[in-house]
Symmetry: C2
Subunit: 647 residues, 2 copies
């Protein structure tokens, strides 16, 4: 079960191998069975959804399941084996020429991803993509990310760049960049943060000036451009962007940066931001790349707590030629296409790290022997019982399982909403689905990165001291997971987005729909006996509390803005725990139906029901504490003089 780095052996309790206890590698398997369940009629009913939105290929269960199997093979055979070695080796920036080298094996793995069509799985078919729905893309992303989260950044952000350029870029730009970007032969990045500002993008100092016609002749298609707001008009960019994932690397011959910058006539603040496409290498007249001169320079590759195999770059734009994406001063609107996709991506990270922690903590707990079960000996033939028999260890492992499987469903359902946006038949419909997905995006991003991080820490805990040792892998999962609550908007920023734009601004419309959605699942079961009845009553109670709480917040919001801010993270987490409860209940109801029909031949469905009960028993009670805290005035946060705090 374990991929041992040390001498191979038969088990932990074996004296001969005991010394290798601290040199155990991680293991990974693709959870395709769980995906099949999530996609099934009684859960997300994905195939009918695909048929309804006209995604013909995706509507074939067999096609999709084969695709998952293939993706699982890629992950197991090529991506996961690089997870630990990639951490040890990391990315390296050449001190002179500034190019970044990825760890050994990444190039070959990336080539497989491109050749297998995985990079372009949701990209436009016209340019070599498979044009699968986002929900299929999310399922494969989760597998790839569990196997190797650092690796996923390269194709992941490329897909985000494609979506953004697809939504806002001109046809000329697409013709020039999509043939290679969609397939992943070139990769993409998102360039927002600057050294002095991340969240507050209005402070951006990166500038873009229109490029002079004479010089523009060096750039392909420039002759077709008028020199002002035409989509392909070249600009010169000046500025510094930091924390750029995949900002430089050796996996592709070109990198397409999607960059926020200000035009000379820009109004102040975020309203003055425009979006640009800035390639690492420019294209010559003959269509080939001019690799003699870099258009964008990598000035630094960050050394980070984790994610060592993911190149996090500081990029210098110095007279860098770029092309406007969308309208001038509409950069934020366009960038939100990218950001929303990246936020869903970050939510998936929570699932990935919970899943990897789950699989490995479980495998370890089944082998490691310590003490005897409290209610009596479980393994009389062994020197001690496996730690899987201890309640505290089970708690830590079930925590990971609850977050991984519940979070998986949450992400898939959110992606299903994105499918509906992408295939909406009217602006009205598109608006409706956008509002809905917008409500769940900060929930999924914040809740799942926070709980994914906690799950990673639970995984370390199951290993005891061995969890703290490098090479055993558990501490790497935790280090990698720690970025989740920071990037693509911190948890606090998600909370402000949620309470401001998604709760209060919608005048309780989306929050009410949320409560109704939860009630629709729970209500039919509240009079039932057994676990599902209990869970349903618990969830109904919380959905009523949610309605009441949001009403109170709304009444208070106008007169006391600080209280809204002070409550925001608790509001978000309260909604988050309810949401995860909702998805667990949906799974349990579907699973119970199979059990009642006598179809639980191997115990898979019963495990779903018992894990649902675990979630409701031992995680969901936190919701009440968040509710209590979200109803508090701001006083204890805001009416305290911070200048005296550190005396």
């Amino acid at each position: 079960m374990y991929r041992r780095v040390g001498k191979p052996s038969s088990g932990w309790a074996n004296p001969a191998t005991a010394l290798f206890a601290s040199r155990i590698g991680l293991s990974y398997k693709a959870r395709t069975r769980d995906l099949t369940f999530a996609f099934s009629k009684d859960v997300l009913n994905m195939y009918d959804h695909y048929a309804a939105i006209g995604a013909v290929d995706a509507a074939e269960k067999e096609t999709v399941e084969t695709l998952f199997e293939e993706c699982g093979k890629l992950c197991t055979q090529q991506l996961f084996p690089l997870y630990q070695s990639g951490d040890v080796e990391g990315c390296k920036r050449h001190p002179v020429d500034g190019t970044v080298t990825t760890p050994k094996g990444f190039k070959e793995a990336y080539r497989s991803v491109v050749e297998g069509g995985w990079a372009g799985i949701c990209g436009p078919r016209e340019f070599g993509g498979l044009e699968m729905p986002q929900s299929i893309g999310v399922a494969t992303k989760e597998m790839i990310g569990t196997a190797n989260w650092a690796f996923l950044g390269y194709p992941g952000l490329t897909a985000g760049a494609v979506s953004t350029i697809d939504a806002w870029g001109s046809e000329v730009l697409k013709q020039a960049y999509f043939p290679k970007l969609t397939t992943g032969e070139w990769t993409g990045t998102m360039c927002m943060t600057e050294p002095h500002c991340g969240t507050d993008l209005g402070q951006c100092r990166t500038k873009a000036e229109p490029f002079l016609p004479a010089a523009a002749a060096a750039v392909s298609d420039a002759s077709a451009a008028d020199q002002h707001h035409h989509p392909i008009s070249p600009y010169r960019l000046h500025g510094t962007k930091i924390f750029i994932t995949g900002g430089d690397h050796d996996l592709a011959e070109n990198i397409v940066h999607v960059v926020l910058a200000k035009l000379p006539d820009a109004p102040p603040g975020t309203k003055g931001l425009s979006l640009f496409l800035v390639p690492k290498f420019l294209t010559k007249f003959d269509g080939t790349l001019d690799t003699t001169r870099k258009n964008v320079n990598c000035a630094r590759a960050e050394s980070k707590m984790g994610m060592a195999a993911s190149a996090t770059c500081q990029l210098e734009f110095e007279n860098s030629i770029g092309y406007l994406i969308g309208e001038p001063h509409s950069g934020m609107k366009a960038m939100f296409t990218f950001m929303n996709e990246a936020r869903i991506g970050a939510a998936i990270q929570g699932v990935c790290h919970a899943e990897l922690a789950f699989q490995n903590a479980l495998a370890y707990a089944r082998e490691r022997k310590s003490l005897r079960g409290l209610s009596g000996t479980k393994e009389p033939e062994a020197v001690a019982d496996a730690i899987i028999h201890h309640p505290n260890v089970r708690h830590n492992i079930l925590f990971c399982k609850a977050i991984a499987e519940g979070g998986r469903l949450m992400c898939l359902d959110l992606a299903r909403m994105v499918d509906l946006i992408n295939t909406a038949k009217s602006d009205e419909e598109r608006h409706k689905f956008t509002e809905e997905a917008g409500f769940y995006t900060p929930i999924a991003k914040a809740l799942l990165t926070e709980l994914g991080l906690e799950a990673a820490s639970c995984g370390v805990q199951v290993f005891g001291g061995h969890g703290y040792i490098k090479g055993n892998g558990m501490e790497q999962i935790l280090r990698d997971a720690r970025i989740g609550t920071l990037y693509e908007g911190t948890t606090g920023v998600q909370a402000l987005d949620f309470i401001g734009r998604k709760v209060l601004k919608s005048k309780t419309r989306e929050p009410a729909k949320f409560a109704a959605r939860v009630a629709a699942v729970a209500k039919p079961f509240v009079m039932k006996s057994g676990d599902i009845g209990k869970c349903s009553r618990q969830l109904m109670r919380l959905s009523l509390q949610w309605r009441f709480g949001v009403g109170a917040l709304y009444l208070n919001a106008a007169k006391d803005k600080e209280s809204v801010g002070s409550a925001s993270q608790d509001v978000l987490m309260f909604a988050g725990y309810i949401t995860l409860g909702y998805y667990w209940l949906r799974m349990a109801i579907a699973a119970q139906k199979q059990i009642d029909a006598g179809k639980d031949v191997d115990g898979f469905y019963l495990a779903k029901v018992t894990t649902c009960k675990f979630y409701f028993d031992r995680i969901l009670p936190r919701a009440t504490a968040h509710y209590d805290m979200m109803m508090l005035p701001a006083t204890s946060l805001m009416k305290t003089d911070q200048t005296k705090w550190d005396m």
Copy 2:
């Protein structure tokens, strides 16, 4: 305020320095003012306590405060500057001779610690110690540990070894080892864990055989020993111990290992463990060290998630000569002296990391500008408001402050109980204080390491993406903090100790005393208006809930052991949050008294009261969730078939 690694500059918002935003070093200052408050008459009333136990030197306020000032200087000037560099360089084991080298500067710093008398601050005066009470030792440990937690391990475990040998070792052993061990010229370790067992020490395989008289002649004092259970009888030890902090290093000429091993006639399990003193180098007849041959070999130095400057060694005992400490087969009892001290030490770690995270998150939040305050602009002259004005950021910082300052008081009070054990006038008294300290030890260890870890993560969060970057230091605090919940017994092990030995075994006596103690502080204020009245009512309610909950557990324990195990961590955390609330209330009451007397000239006391309110408002509500969970049956943890979890 910041020790900048890059170019020095005036501030974050300055464009010229913006690029160095990702290369900011940590800062540290000794919180001696907070210690003064904790020791004061209205809080712990330490000086009267010292007078009562006859600790004459410690009873002088001025002496103690001067000592704290001096310790603060040592920490600021010598230990803290090595915190980040120590992480970068780490400890290195020589591949051939196995010796471990500590990072640059550690040797000099350690010499200062020894020469300043800090290593022997609580050690016996007869052998060069200052014989200060443990509570003074804890205060200095906390300062040293905040400045450099990895460093503290070397003198910290030495002090634990001294306490253990002092309590259980023979006079001959003390005469031979204490002159250099007490002062820290030699260091000590605690050797328990083996590759296949940590918690379950009954599985220990390290063996000790009586040494033949002829060969024993090579060992000093061996002639004075009869060859069986006499305290100085030499034994030969065989076995492997792992995760030994300070197991090898270059800070001292000798290392004294305190080792659990089994004698040939040992009964099975932990009852068969005996304790041995095993020096790295043996002493020759002339009293000098025989450095030509190592008595214990370091086979490996672990590469860990954090704590890189702390040598974590695998030690090989091969015919290693050692001496029995205490009676044969009484090793566990003796080792508990060491373990209890180490557990309090680990509790201090929570305080240290919360404190360091607090200081640095606060400093950053005061400088970093982002967006505007929700209730209006706070810094109109600046490009944006400092993030300290945002509620979510304040929450993260106040979290750190609440854990650091509340935890500080908890550790000091626990050490005060240890003072009482150490100076008890009768066995009965000693038993009483031992029971009391025994109740609070797992609470402090588990709660403060868990919350210290969370605080470290909050600190990272305040820095946003910059928190994830190496060199900025926040991620180091988090990596270092992660070990806390793992060593000296995981949180789960503390929980079993607490519920088993401290709650149920004491037949609700200690739990009732705990509730009474809490009530004694809160009750006089429950009818008062204002924050202190509110907090007192909240705490009274919880103390009643505690009584009820423990009663229910006790009734249930006999018939359902799994439920007890399943509840254990929630019981511990429930008690823990109440305990921390109790200490915060004590501080707030004392501070309010000063405010009411018009003595809060600089706002220090008001900050105490408002932080207390923060704790009660925004951390303590978690207690209720733990209460709800501790009342659950074991079903959702134990009645679920783990073999089906990962299908």
